[in-house]
Symmetry: C2
Subunit: 314 residues, 2 copies
Amino acid sequence: MRKAIGIDLGGTFIKAALVDQEGAILYKEEAPTLAERGPDDILLRIEQMIRDIAAKHALQISDLSGLGIAIPGFIDDATGVADEVVNIGWRNVAVREPLHARLGIHVAMENDANAAALGEAWAGAGRGRRFALCVTLGTGVGGGVVIDGKVLRGANTMAGEIGHMVMVPGGAPCNCGHHGCLETISSATGVVRLAREGLARAQAAGESSALAAVQDLTAAAVFAAAEAGDVLANAVVDEAIETLAWGLGTAANVVNPEVIVVGGGMSRAGERLFAPLREAFPRYALRRVALAATIVPATLGNDAGVVGAARLAL
Amino acid sequence: MRKAIGIDLGGTFIKAALVDQEGAILYKEEAPTLAERGPDDILLRIEQMIRDIAAKHALQISDLSGLGIAIPGFIDDATGVADEVVNIGWRNVAVREPLHARLGIHVAMENDANAAALGEAWAGAGRGRRFALCVTLGTGVGGGVVIDGKVLRGANTMAGEIGHMVMVPGGAPCNCGHHGCLETISSATGVVRLAREGLARAQAAGESSALAAVQDLTAAAVFAAAEAGDVLANAVVDEAIETLAWGLGTAANVVNPEVIVVGGGMSRAGERLFAPLREAFPRYALRRVALAATIVPATLGNDAGVVGAARLAL
């Protein structure tokens, strides 16, 4: 059976996995990114991780179908260069050529959201479906569109950026420079912002909320307070989910997916997220679009990126 | 050079064209649809048009690469059946099999908006571009996404329905059953609605507008009054265009097109439409998405459907 190595380069950790052609992870490991040491050092350590994984499995590097690497920023696939990777301070870093030169194998690249989408579509919750829309609810809202097993990249690898669909013109400022993007509302960060704003209003109005007592206000804390019946927390969660349904309905009208895979930290809220999301989705997706699309939780968790990266090389 | 026939089945006319493999129309004709005579009669007349075109060009039917047919409704490509075509009253009408049986050639189907998008992307304003988003501003707002020369169909041929992206939840009712869809604002119908509503408000406030004197309020009349300096007409046109920029920016964040082709009757407004549209688009599309996308007028006009239909068979 063919095997490839998938690398998920993150701001904090580099994850590496040996993946077979069925999408099963045979082995995985991770190491700190140490971004401050610069790109050459990171690429060298990626090479070492790959040699180490091969050696542990009695494989020659040449036995591998290749190497796929997920990068948390903008890439130029034509040149094999990472144009801009804010999290680790990269600008115009050649990735494919140095790795190919050192290892002598096929090297494929993808941005991390697209790689995670590909992983879920190929070997996770979207397995067996031809058209998948994948969304990750974390600090931001990442997205990816997978068609017939291939990531839709678009003109310059920006396709699937559903977190930056503007939902509320003039709304809360977004890191992208615009206002009111989906991720200002339906991400973990968005939920915390809505909760803080709601708390300020509630306190001004002399209303109480369990959230006022929470030391470290996180999206998980807001979901927990909502489950416990707090009115403000439920209003915040409802707004985040209704807006997510709107955004997914909008994107679904464009790509008409068979499956919408929802992952990321916030997806762990389970039915408190999925039940109202499924209920609201048909208010925004065309009837036939809604009929075609099943909304499901992601199943690969943090492994989606390495699996998708490996898929690129298989 | 290979040739195919493209059919564009409309509510009023059936258009047919002989198209070569470069996308050039060698000949075209049209005939009334006469929907009231039923599907068998229409399919028979389509067959006759094809035989007639072949005979006029000294071609055997078997010399053709095939036949493509654009249908103004929902199709099931797997079965070759038109599921629902409201305009001509069809429900579950087999199209591919009867035409194939009668003519002995390959028959391809597509819905009309997708066929028009394919035509523009292949042989019109999107020629030479890999990723095209095409939009038609007419009675409604039609759309299609073309990737590497192929229409993105999605799970059940509904992809590209950007006219039904909900822009304003709870807004004006749309034919689709939802409220506030893009086509309730940025179509010819939407412009007329906004103008009527604006006129009512202006009259209630004792303000004048040149639109009050217009007998037959059309989108063209509103654009003309705007060009002539009417304040209300300009406000209406600006709202329709700003919302269109929002919708196109939203869809572009999902598919990352190289080119956005804008056609349909309203696109004849020229720079009064395109200049503010290009100006507003980057307020909604991510910076890199906006940098990658050129917004251009469609060039095939009413021929986009037959050209795209023929492309399906080539």
